[in-house]
Amino acid sequence: MKRLINQAPAAPWRLALGLLPFVLVLLVYLSASANRLAENPDDPLLPSIAAMADTFADVATEPNRRTGELTLWVDTSASLIRLGLGVGIAMAIGLVVGVLTGLIPYANRTFSPFVSVLSMIPPLAVLPILFIALGVGEVAKIALIVFGIAPFIMRDIQQRVEELPRELLVKAQTLGANTWQIILRLVLPQVMPRLLDATRLALGSAWLFLIASEAIAATEGLGYRIFLVRRYLDMELILPYVMWITLLAFLADVILRLIVRVVFPWYRARRS
């Protein structure tokens, strides 16, 4: 018998093993739901798959009676715009600060301790301050996402820049590059795929901050909706919404990976 670390499943098993936990969770849910509904058909806690599908189709296709809008799409676009702006701004700030503190000793000495302290502040504790200072509109929500993930991206990028082989920086200088050209032609291209990697990792937190701020003050948005209908124990809507959010998060991750693979073909090859 080989050691456990030396055994790997054969091809058909890999897929099956990957699916197994999903199937198990589904089965547990189905049986629990069927049991509860058999006792009380109006039980709201574990709705049937059919009921959830109906409700989801409803919010996706039927105009809301009060506002006349398609709830799901209004919520989705509101949330994605906030998320996109927040993440985009955080990436831009993270890239600029990270490259400067990673490459330029004076910038490092000046800003590095500040960034370290900044990243220790729990972003959700700052949320009330943001609401007071910026109002309860869009700006505060976007600011929370930026505040939540920009320090992480800054530090990650700084570290990646510091990890660049010293030889490459020397080589660029012997080719006549000034500091700006070194940033433009050497550091930025090398760090870009790493920025996308860092963003992928930060995306989970970004969703957290988005939903938290929407839960507290919003008039539309995915997080707003699930916290709104929580008051009525409306699991028929909450569960599909959570799955929808998961799907969006998953797609964002896939897209970022794809961009890295297509735009930076040298990146993967180099790491292996």
Binding site: P165, K171, T174
Partner: protein
């Protein structure tokens, strides 16, 4: 003309002396190979020539003027690893050398200038035998091809001196032989001044026109860092084969395996 002159150069890290009192004059067109036991400061010496480090005491001159204390286009370099930019193709790696000097803000050339630069870059690639690999990324090239690319990239700037830091240390013997021919040919054709650090004594003897041996002359067992290394041998190499006794003496000085030395020297005698 590009001469290198060192006057009473010392390099110390805190209380540790790495190099002590180095005097050296190298003329234009010399091919200086540098050997020495590990930790004897030969890489430090090369980094000082490069401008990555500055001497603690003494004076370094390039063409009679003080050596700039940061790396610049007058001194090209090829390292053992990480010598080329992984995010650029072979052609891009050579082209970037052309682009960096000419454009201050964008670091890129456009239009006619770009086409001309491309042409020069292609010629340079061809001169190191890489015309077929122009569109490949370094990760798709073999170790030897990567080093060829690094040399082509360094030569694009027409450096006054070319510094090679164990450039072939990680290559297979056969490939290494090819690289020797390439470097020898480029050196003779372009009249370069080359400094090359190597671990390989045979390589040092065969390739250079002058061999420097770095070693510590004085030892204090109580304080290993008290004395630094100096140039203990400075051997002009005509490309007649070196006398085996010279070979053996240098080998012993460096504490090299007697077998290696004898083997190499017999090979020399036969050749």
């Amino acid at each position: 003309m590009s001469t290198v002159t060192l006057k009473n150069v010392w390099k110390e890290y805190g209380r540790d002396v790495v190099l002590e009192n180095i005097d050296l004059h190298v003329d234009s067109g010399e091919f200086v190979t540098i050997v020495g036991a590990s930790g004897c400061g030969k890489s430090t010496f090369l980094r000082m020539l490069l401008g990555q480090e500055s001497p603690t005491r003494g004076e370094m001159q390039l063409d009679g003027r003080p050596m700039p204390d940061e790396p610049g286009p007058d001194r090209g370099v090829v390292f053992q690893k990480y010598s080329v930019f992984p995010h650029l193709t072979a052609l891009g790696n050579v082209l970037v050398a052309e682009e960096l000097g000419h454009t201050r803000f964008t670091g890129r050339l456009f239009g006619r200038h770009r086409r001309e630069a491309r042409e020069r870059a292609r010629k340079m690639l061809a001169s190191v035998g890489l015309e077929q690999a122009a569109n490949k990324y370094p990760s798709e090239l073999s170790g030897g091809m990567q080093q060829r690319l690094a040399i082509a990239q360094a030569l694009m700037k027409d450096p006054k001196i070319l510094l090679l830091d164990e450039p072939f240390g990680a290559l297979d013997p056969g490939i290494r032989q090819d690289m020797h021919e390439l470097v020898r040919e480029l050196w003779q054709r372009q009249g370069l001044t080359i400094f090359m650090v190597t671990h390989d004594l045979k390589e040092a003897f065969e390739l250079g026109s002058r061999l420097l041996v770095f070693d510590k002359v004085r030892h204090d067992p109580q304080a290993p860092g008290a004395y630094g290394a100096n140039i203990t041998y400075d051997i002009p190499l005509s490309h007649a084969t070196p006398h085996p006794s010279v070979y053996r003496a240098v080998g012993q000085r460096l504490g090299l395996d007697a077998d290696v030395v004898t083997h190499s020297s017999t090979a020399e005698e036969e050749g």
